[in-house]
């Protein structure tokens, strides 16, 4: 059906063009022979083709353009005719003898154009007559094209300042009046178009109608091009008249298009000065008009106008652009009850961007906008429209982008209240955006209060929000989010320890509510941040210990204890243990023995009670040993207790090789290079010997269970320990002991039951080469090695 329609249309168009061309041919002949009467007759017949009702606007336009070209020639002819002495007034009458109104009107406009040029009558009178006579065409499509033709031919003939048809001020007024009237009539016709034809084709018709909109809009363009239309005239006459038409036409499509058109064609400064008038029209538009886009565009234009030249900013202040816009948006939202939350948010978003651009110093404005937004949102509850949430994210991101500084944003008291209306998913997204802003700009959030506010903002990431059902969260996403929170925690800094401590406490108060899953991400960051503070205190020597008013490391450690303890509920014993060790080390650095001891104790308890996995035991044990080795704060007794425990744990490991390794590692606990009081060679040897025994036992066990003695790696490792302590000058490590160990390894390696292990062999070979190397190096060490045969 549609296809057939299109085909028919093609046929009609072709027929129309053919008829037009035929009459144009006769018209040309008449023109060539200067036969005015025939020229008029055939031109009227030619124009009769435009009387068709069968064509769509698109096709009609094609036909119109052809007629338009022909009319240009006719106009030339009329001009010559008047030069030959034919009175233009007579011509003007003559064309009106045509019986059909459409050809008559086209001809009248054509002669009218010549009439104005001849200056035999004031341009304004002719124009007035033309625009009036065109009323006869009430058919929307034909009327629009006719009036568009009128607009076209009269464009360069409007009396204007500086034009050759310039008249007095009244003449300019008449031009404006003429264009306005033509505009009004065209708009009426355009609006009326929708009521034509069947309801079934409404959609198609609206589409066609949309195609014609520029015919109407062109009038506004013509107005904007008139030199004489200055601000006063625009404000007092042009704009009110246009708006009157826009409002009165009560048509969605037209109102939207025309509002947009006004905003686009007239200069920004006019808009600024007439803001009130323009905005007052907005609430009067049809509820279905997409006014948000219109206003957004207006604000966009004004923003860029403000941006283009800083000199105009006072103007903005002078006309109170912001409060006007703000008021108007409020009214629009009130008036358009149907407006979706999305629309409202878009409006606020635009307004916010506008105020950020134009009044970057007026945070209160931005806050007002957000406040209004909150008010609107509060009537709707949580938002479930995904586009609206997206728009809110954009709204909330705007200040971040503008100020590049979360601190400024935090001053917006309504900011978090807006966030509350986001669903938890979007809330998280927004929180991430905020964190990214902070990290990207290296913003220093330097007071506890601000940190509190900041964490309030990003609480979507910090804890599970009330009432939100536990949706499936992608694990990777979750990790990413929590990592960003951790990064944020690391960013927080204040040089004043007291404040920094407050910051840490604040952060802690927030993250402690985060639940098990989050703590393991956030706690380490906070712990390390606190440790950093401790070190900072440490380096500031002047900090008097024990001063209650000031912040002391002790206080921090107390807090740390609390923090790490929270991990136990996760449970994340390994992590907690590592952090305890870190804290212990920090305690060590601060010379706080009880603190360090306490943390160690906690670590040990964790080791004993919580860490059951043998692999984990091995790792943590090595960590304990490593940390303990570096401790220098402990007194003999404490140290003994701790080392004793550590060696005890070592021997209790499950696998023999692990036992062996842990035990020889323990040997270091008794020999600390830079501490003379900690050089207990005997106990080192005991450890090493014990390690050897265990290695042996491991060999035998392996022999018994698998029939092969396994690797000699352990022996080689122990040998290396021997060599280490030998070099360090442990008197208990003798050449003989080393010698015998080397022999032992050699024998083991040659033994039949040993499974060849290239790695171990290489290791051993390297060790031997090291001994040779030390011998050759000369000096004290070489002398020591002299007696070692290898």
């Amino acid at each position: 059906m549609m296809v057939a329609g299109a085909e028919d249309e093609e046929k009609w168009l072709a027929a129309g063009i053919a008829g037009l061309q035929q009459n144009a041919f006769y018209m040309h002949r008449a023109l060539d022979s200067n036969n005015l009467r025939d020229a008029l007759k055939y031109s009227a017949q030619m124009l009769s083709e435009l009387r068709t009702s069968k064509l769509s606007p698109h096709k009609y336009y094609e036909l119109y353009m052809r007629a338009f070209d022909e009319l240009r020639k006719l106009e030339m002819f009329f001009k010559e005719e008047t030069r030959r002495g034919c009175s233009v007034i007579e011509l003007y009458e003559l064309v009106q003898h045509a019986g059909n109104i459409l050809p008559r009107s086209y001809l009248l406009c054509t002669v009218g154009s010549v009439y104005i040029k001849s200056e035999e009558a004031p341009a304004k009178d002719v124009l007035k007559d033309l625009v009036e006579m065109c009323r006869g065409i009430q058919h929307p499509l034909r009327g629009l094209f006719l009036r568009s033709y009128l607009s076209q031919v009269s464009r360069d003939k409007l009396p204007d300042i500086g034009s050759e048809y310039e008249g007095d001020a009244d003449a300019l007024m008449d031009s404006v009046e003429f264009v306005l009237q033509n505009f009004t009539e065209m708009n009426k016709l355009w609006v009326r178009m929708q009521h034509q034809g069947s309801v079934r084709e409404k959609e198609k018709r609206e589409k066609e109608r949309n195609e014609l909109r520029d015919l109407v809009g062109k009038n506004l363009h013509v107005l904007s091009q008139l030199e004489g239309v200055d601000l006063d005239m625009y404000r007092d006459i042009v704009l009110p008249r246009i708006l009157e038409q826009v409002v009165n036409c009560k048509d969605e499509l037209a109102q939207y298009y025309l509002m947009d058109c006004i905003i686009q064609v007239f200069p920004d400064e006019y808009h600024l000065q007439t803001l009130e008038t323009l905005l007052d029209a907005c609430p009067q538009l049809q509820p279905s008009v997409d006014i948000k886009t219109v206003l957004s565009r207006l604000m966009e234009r004004l923003s860029s106008y403000a941006a283009s030249s800083p000199g105009v900013l006072p103007e903005f202040l002078q006309v109170e652009a912001f409060s006007k816009l703000n008021n108007s948006i409020g009214k629009v939202i009130e008036a358009q009850v149907e407006m979706s939350i999305l629309g409202a948010v878009i409006l606020y978003s635009s307004l916010l961007k506008f105020t950020l651009h134009v009044h970057p110093d007026r945070l209160d404005y931005a806050d007002q906008v957000l406040g209004a937004c909150v008010k609107k949102l509060s009537s709707k509850g949580k938002i479930d429209d995904s586009r609206a949430t997206k728009e809110i994210v954009a709204l909330l991101s705007a200040p971040l982008e503008k100020y590049n500084d979360i601190v400024t944003t935090l001053k917006l008291s309504n900011y978090p209240r807006v966030m509350e209306y986001l669903d938890s998913e979007t809330n998280k997204v927004m929180a991430t955006v905020i964190i990214q802003s902070v990290t990207k700009n290296n913003t220093n959030v330097s007071s506890a209060e601000k940190v509190g506010a900041l964490f309030e903002l990003i609480k979507g990431l910090i804890k599970d929000l009330d009432g939100s059902p536990h949706e499936e969260v992608d694990e990777d996403d979750f990790i990413e989010e929590q990592n960003s929170v951790a990064r944020l925690i690391q960013m927080l800094h204040n040089d004043v320890p007291e404040e920094m401590f407050k910051i840490i406490s604040t952060v802690w108060q927030h993250i402690v509510t985060g639940g098990a899953k989050r703590l393991s991400f956030t706690v380490p960051a906070l712990v390390f941040s606190s440790l950093k503070l401790i070190r900072q205190l440490q380096s500031q020597e002047e900090n008097p210990f024990g001063d209650d008013t000031s912040i002391s490391p002790k206080k921090i450690f107390q807090l740390l204890n609390q923090i790490i303890e929270a991990l136990l509920t996760v449970p994340a014993p390994e992590l907690a243990l590592r952090l305890y060790l870190q804290c212990a080390e920090a305690g060590n650095d601060c010379d706080l023995e009880p603190v360090a001891y306490e943390f160690f104790t906690q670590a040990y308890i964790l080791y004993e009670e919580e860490i059951s996995d043998s692999k984990a035991q091995v790792t943590t044990l090595h960590l304990i040993i490593g940390t303990l080795q570096r401790m220098h704060v402990f007194g003999v007794e404490n140290r003994d207790t701790l080392t004793h425990k550590a060696t005890g744990y070592s021997a209790k490991l499950l696998k023999k090789p692990d036992q062996c390794r842990a035990v020889y590692a323990c040997s270091h606990l008794f020999w600390v290079d830079d501490q003379d009081n900690l050089k207990d060679g005997e106990r080192v040897l005991i450890c090493l010997k014990r390690a050897l025994r265990i290695a042996n036992a491991a060999q035998q066990m392996s022999n018994a269970t698998r029939g092969s003695t396994g690797s000699v790696t352990l022996f080689v490792e122990i040998l290396n320990k021997y060599l280490y302590f030998f070099e360090k000058g442990n008197p208990q490590i003798t050449v003989a002991a080393i010698q015998s160990l080397i022999e032992l390894i050699k024998t083991e390696m040659q033994s039949d039951s040993t499974t060849p292990d290239p790695a171990a062999e290489a290791f051993f070979a390297c060790t031997l080469r090291y001994i040779q190397f030390q011998k050759q190096k000369g000096g004290a060490i070489a002398e020591k090695y002299e007696r070692v045969k290898a």
């Binding site: 019986g99 109104i101 006579m133 009326r192």
Partner: protein, 301 residues
């Protein structure tokens, strides 16, 4: 042979010449046979002065019972063809009975002739003026020669010329108000007006203004009425909405109008009407007819 030919030839030639023939305006007149000839134009109260030349055929004498010239104003009704009603009849005797041998010129004058009616050539009626020269003869038939002329009478602009203003409509369907600036128009006048749509509930397709001529002849039961549409002038294309006003500007000059004739000699009338026609999409026509008076304007230049 010569005698025979002479017997059938008119024995003389008669020609009528007007004194101011050279300067007098000539207007076209359609004759019965369809040809158009140019004839002199007069108006009432003018004097018709001229001369009649009678020239007997070479070598013949003309016996006659006298010559006379008549000025006749006649009305001819087509249903009664051949019967002329002379409403004006003036006679001038030119010659007493006798014989004429040579060409002779007779001047004549009808001074300030009352010619109240205009020449008119309608569908069913014709009003004409002629100068008729009659040579009366015995036995043989009279020799008659005609000269047509046209009379047009000019009127000054009417002192009272009200506009025509009227509201018409079909209840709850269509209400319009129209206004023509005048009720009396001269022949080259322009009809200016406006149609104002007060209520439109039907889909109007277009609107036109017709000029109709109504010629009625005869009287009583023998009245014949003939209506012609002289002009169809489209005023509007498309469907107007309430509140729309459509301008009218119709130049009368292209149309062949005559003045309005009211009850000319109790024989006929010619009246003009403006007929406003609205056509809806189903081609139904709604119309309202208004009489206008057409007059011939006395040009003062």
């Amino acid at each position: 042979m010569n005698f025979l030919i002479g017997a059938f030839k008119p024995p003389c030639t008669v020609s009528i010449t007007l004194a101011d023939a050279r300067n007098r305006k000539q207007v076209p007149l359609k004759k019965d046979n369809g040809q158009t000839i140019m004839v002199p134009l007069f108006q009432s109260q003018e004097s018709i002065v001229g001369e009649v030349v009678i020239e007997p055929t070479q070598g013949k004498k003309l016996e006659h019972n006298g010559f006379k010239i008549e000025l006749l104003g006649q009305i001819e009704l087509f249903f009664d063809r051949g019967n002329f009603y002379d409403f004006t009849s003036l006679v001038r005797e030119l010659e007493v009975p006798g014989e004429l041998y040579d060409r002779k010129t007779y001047p004549f004058e009808f001074s300030t002739v009352e010619m109240p009616y205009e020449s008119y050539n309608g569908v069913n009626v014709r009003l004409r003026y002629i100068l008729k020269v009659t040579i009366s003869r015995n036995i043989v038939s009279n020799i008659v020669e005609h000269q047509d002329f046209v009379v047009r009478n000019y009127t000054p602009p009417p002192p009272i010329n009200n506009s025509i203003k009227m509201e018409v409509g079909i209840e709850d369907c269509l209400h319009i108000e129209f206004e023509y600036s005048k009720s009396k128009y001269h022949l080259k006048d322009v009809i200016i007006g406006k149609i104002y749509f007060l209520l439109v509930r039907i889909k109007i397709k277009n609107m036109e203004l017709e000029i109709r001529r109504r010629e009625s002849t005869g009287s009583g039961p023998n009245t014949y009425v003939e209506t012609e549409t002289l002009a169809k002038y489209e005023l509007m294309d498309g469907t107007p909405v309430r509140g729309e006003s459509i301008p009218i500007r119709l130049f009368l000059s292209p149309y062949e109008l005559t003045p309005t004739y009211r009850n000319i000699n109790n024989k006929f009338s010619v009246k003009y009407y403006l007929n406003l026609v609205l056509v809806d999409e189903e081609d139904r026509r709604y119309f309202k007819q208004q009489e206008i008076t057409v007059y011939r304007l006395l040009e003062t230049s």
